[in-house]
Structure formats: C-alpha cells, structure tokens
C-alpha cells in the first residue's frame, strides 16, 4: 500500500482563542515495504501526524492518500483502506483485557468476521512472529513481563493483517531486556511480512539500527527526510532542535576530531551510526596495526 501525505495542515481549535497550528504543509510518500522512523521532540507533531494517517483526525487542509484514495472519503473503499492500517499506541499493554493471551489476540480478527478456527490460526501466527509461543498462549496476559505484554498487544494488531503498521514509541518504559525483545520482534515482522512500518521513537540507536528512512518533525513541519546516514550526519541541526544522535555516531565524531589521530596520519570515516559499524571501522583502522 502506498501512503501519500500531501500538504497536510492541521489547526487545533480553529477560530477559538487558543487556536494552534499543529501541522504545517507536511508532504511525503511512502512505498509498500518501506520502514520509516518518525522523530522529533515532545510536541513536534508526531502524534498529530499519525492520527491523520489513519483518519482519527481530519486535516484542516491537505490530504492523506492510501493507494491513491483519500482516507477521509466516506466511501466503502476508503473505509476498507483505513482498516489496512494497524496502529499500536504508546503503552498498548494497558489495553489488554482477556483471560488468556490467545483470546486477547483473537478479539480483533473475530471482530473482522473470521471464524473461531481462522482467528486462532492468524493469532497463533502473529504471536509466533513476536516470539510468544507454547504454554504462554494460555496464560493470563496480566501475568507476563512488561516486554511480553507489549508484544502480545502488538500481536493483537498484527493479527488484523495490516499493510501499514504504525508503532508509537514501542520500547518506551521497558527494561533493556524487554527493549531488545521488542526490537527483535520488529525485525522479524520486517523480514517475514512485506509490511510498511512507521516507528515513532526517541531512541536514536534504535532508529539507526532499524529504519531505512528517517522523517524529522519540528514544530509541525517536516524539516528533514532521508536515510539514517544522511540525517544523522546533520548532528548539529538535530541537537539544535533538542534531538540526540546515535551513540556510535557521536563517538565516531569525537574520535575523528582527536588531534593525536591526525598527527599519526590516520584518517577515520566518522559515518558509522550503529555500534556494529563503529566496531568494524575502528578494527579496520587499528586492527591491522596492532
């Protein structure tokens, strides 16, 4: 499914004294299978943008198209397309409610009209994709760890078979282990399904290791759009709007500026954005000499 956002502008409380411009002239296109990270500090418009993409908010002006159809049309076609978007909210585990993990995930597909057996089948598949299998399916979702609960909630959305998956800060508030489990689940979703993914994140290390495109919002405007390498090469501009850059990139820039390196005539490429890339680059430079 192609997503096209065209000159999107949104004004909250238009005409009232506390009217505010939340989104200004945002345009971009995403093709099927792309993985974009959406970054920007709190209040930059990330949530407003997401809510427009699945029709929860209507633009003041501009359009959101899915496969060329305006999501805000009242046609059955637009309605069907909106259903192809799976939105995983922040802290989605607060929305778990069923007696068992499997029943919780089945709720969505059953609502779409699938039979009991069909719903169970797609739910088991979705749960396996996020790494929840075996006896855990019959456990109460409330007795799982934080990372597991969140993966169950993500499976609940995957079981609806979306073409575009939107993850709003999927790792917020988790411990390092839960965090790593979510990232693994997202990687598996990526490999096994040809889904487009938009991930909102404050964690630049996650963005650098997962996304193939980064959209930067500031004050309701889309101010940058490019590959992680291109975006994170603009560290000064990102810091100026209160964003961080990946730890690896930050370190490589510091290392490249060390006068002692220049004295030795060593030249280091500071483009690495993940720890794996930094490790490789440093070993390439120093390993042969050691």
């Amino acid at each position: 499914m192609q997503l096209k956002v065209e000159k999107l502008t949104h004004i909250y409380s238009e005409g009232l004294p506390f009217e505010s411009l939340a989104m200004t002239d945002v345009s971009f296109t995403m093709e099927q299978g792309e993985f974009a990270a959406l970054i920007g500090h709190t209040g930059s418009g990330k949530s407003t943008l997401i809510q427009h993409i699945n029709g929860l908010l209507k633009p003041t002006s501009g359009h959101v198209y899915l496969d060329g159809v305006d999501v805000n049309e009242k046609s059955p076609e637009a309605r069907a397309l909106r259903r192809r978007i799976g939105l995983v909210f922040q802290y989605p585990e607060y929305q778990l409610f069923e007696e068992t993990v499997l029943k919780d995930v089945c709720f969505g597909p059953k609502n779409l009209g699938l039979s009991e057996e069909e719903a169970e089948e797609v739910s088991r598949e979705a749960l396996a994709l996020v790494g929840i299998t075996g006896e855990k399916l019959e456990r109460s979702p409330f007795n799982l760890s934080g990372g597991e609960k969140r993966r169950v909630a993500i499976a609940g959305v995957l079981a609806m078979d979306p073409e575009l998956l939107i993850l709003d800060e999927p790792t917020a508030g988790l411990d390092p282990r839960g965090h790593a489990e979510i990232l693994d689940a997202v990687r598996r979703i990526r490999e096994k399904k040809n889904m487009s993914i938009i991930m909102v994140s404050h964690n630049m290390d996650d963005v650098a290791s997962l996304a193939d495109r980064v959209l930067v919002l500031e004050d309701g405007r889309l101010i940058m759009d490019g590959s992680p390498r291109e975006i994170f090469a603009r560290g000064e501009e990102l810091r100026a709007i209160g964003l961080e850059i990946p730890s690896a990139k930050d370190f490589m820039e510091k290392l490249a500026k060390m006068p002692a390196l220049k004295e030795k005539g060593l030249e280091i490429d500071d483009g690495a954005i993940t720890i794996d890339e930094a490790q490789e680059e440093i070993l390439k430079l120093f390993g042969s000499k050691a």
């Binding site: 709190t42 411990d175 390092p176 290392l255 060390m258 440093i282 390993g287 050691a290």
Partner: protein, 278 residues
C-alpha cells in the same frame, strides 16, 4: 563512615500465582553512607525494587533487619518518622500526583504531618525552586510534560525534608529531555548533601553515582565504584546488563584484538586509549 541505611541479612519472598514462595531477596546486607550517591542496577527480577521498598517500610523484612537512620523499620511506632526520613520517587509521575494544583500537591505531605501553615508555604516554595518549577506553582499537574510532572513528584518528597531520597526508575517513562532534567536534579540534590539511592536500568545513569551495587537473583553480585564495576564488563555482559556505550564498544574492541585498558568508562577515555595505540 557514618551509615544512614543499614540492611542486615534481608530476606524476602513473594507468593506466585500457584501459591508457591518465590525468593526475591536472599540474604542482602549493606551499609549506605550518609551523603553518598548509590546506584542499584540488575536485571528484571533481581530484587532491586523490593529492596528499595524495604528501605522505608513500604515492605517489611520477612527475616533480617533494615535500619533507616538508626530506626528499625519493623517497629510500627516509628513508621511515620521512617517514611519522612526516607522519601521515595517512583517510575510513573501520574501515580504520584494527587492535587489539581501543583503547589497543593507539594503541600499535601507536610499538611498530613501537621507542619504549621507558614512553614508549609516556605517548604513548598523552596521545594519548587529546587526542581526549577517555581513558575508552575499555580498550574494543573496534568497540563505538564512527563519530565515536569516527575519534577513535581520530587518536590513533593523534598517538602517532607527527607535525609535519604530513593528513586525507583524515575526516568523510565520519560523522553531524553525529561530524562536529562531528572538526572540533573538528582545530582543537585546529592551535591546539596542528600543521600541518594537510584534504582535504574540505564547504565549511563548509574555511571554518575559514587557507588554501584549490582543485584542478581536476590543477592549482591558486585559492589564498587563505577570504574571498578565497569571493568568487569564481560561478567556484566553475561548478566544481560546493558553497558554504557563506551564500555560496550571497548569490550568488543578488546575481543577483536585491540590492546585497550580494562577500566575504560567514558567516550573520552576510549578515544584517548585508541589514539595511544601504536
């Protein structure tokens, strides 16, 4: 050394779903020095939060003893004085705010223990100032950002004038900006003489303490300065603990054959060490 918290052979177990006892703390003993800044780290289920809740009698030892500023936490008659002396800040700021106006929220604790009104005013003002939130005194807490709410929660604890402040993953739900704000306040409180105990999953935060205690399976697995602890990077990695970026990269580079010192703690140190390789 004058210790303000003293934990002696503390044991604690919870009952699980099937009614079986799960040991969470398995004989923990430690002393915390007055005025120090101690970080407690450990994987989930290591007992960090249970230990923290035992420090001000939110939980009581099933065996062993905990003394807060010399007071035995199992002595019922000392409960209020213990809670005043050892204040706690939790993960979710939304669960810690009770009033519709910021300054009322901060006055709530002192009012409850019968502090005279003039003094309450003073305490509220200085607590707000300490967390840099004076200009929000008349606002509604729900209109504030996560980091700001957490600052109000800290001010509420400060207004009780505690000797020890225990922070139980205070930044876990905040964005990087909020996280930075809270860490700056924690360091200021320590500089101003408070004893600070920080429970965290973030090793970069723990690196800012004077001392790190690593808990694993209900026992103390390591206890030392950040430099001592991070020089055990292979063991920490084995415990599935996240290492600060520079420590982790140095660990990988050593494994890749580079001759780097074992106690690298910061990016600056790693950069220096790389430059002095031949």
């Amino acid at each position: 050394m004058e210790s303000i918290i003293s934990v002696k052979d503390l044991r604690f177990a919870y009952e699980d779903e099937e009614g079986e006892l799960q040991t969470v703390l398995d004989g923990v003993s430690l002393e915390i020095e007055k005025g120090s800044f101690v970080a407690m780290v450990g994987p989930n289920g290591s007992g960090k939060s249970t230990l923290a809740k035992n420090l001000n009698a939110l939980l009581l030892p099933q065996s062993g003893k905990v003394y807060a500023d010399g007071m035995d936490t199992s002595d019922d008659s000392l409960l209020w004085e213990i809670r005043r002396s050892v204040g706690m800040v939790f993960q979710n700021p939304d669960n810690q705010l009770v009033s519709a106006v910021v300054e009322d929220d901060i006055a709530f604790g002192p009012e409850n223990i019968g502090v005279p009104p003039e003094e309450i005013r003073q305490r509220v003002d200085s607590a707000l100032e300490a967390v840099g939130m004076s200009r929000f005194a008349k606002q509604a807490p729900h209109m504030l950002s996560g980091g700001q709410k957490q600052r109000i929660a800290i001010a509420g604890v400060l207004a009780m004038q505690p000797d020890v402040m225990v922070f139980d993953e205070p930044t876990a739900m905040l964005d990087p900006r909020g996280r930075g704000e809270i860490m700056a306040i924690i360091e200021q409180l320590h500089d101003a003489g408070k004893t600070v105990i920080l429970i965290t999953h973030f090793m970069e935060e723990a690196a800012r303490a004077d001392r790190i205690i690593v808990l694993k399976d209900g026992k103390i697995a390591a206890d030392g300065t950040p430099r001592e602890i991070y020089s055990m990077s292979e063991q920490l990695h084995g415990m599935k603990l996240e290492l600060p970026f520079a420590v982790e990269l140095a660990r990988r580079l050593r494994a890749g054959g580079l001759d780097l010192p074992a106690d690298i703690l910061s990016e600056e140190e790693l950069a220096e060490a790389l430059c002095s390789l031949k």
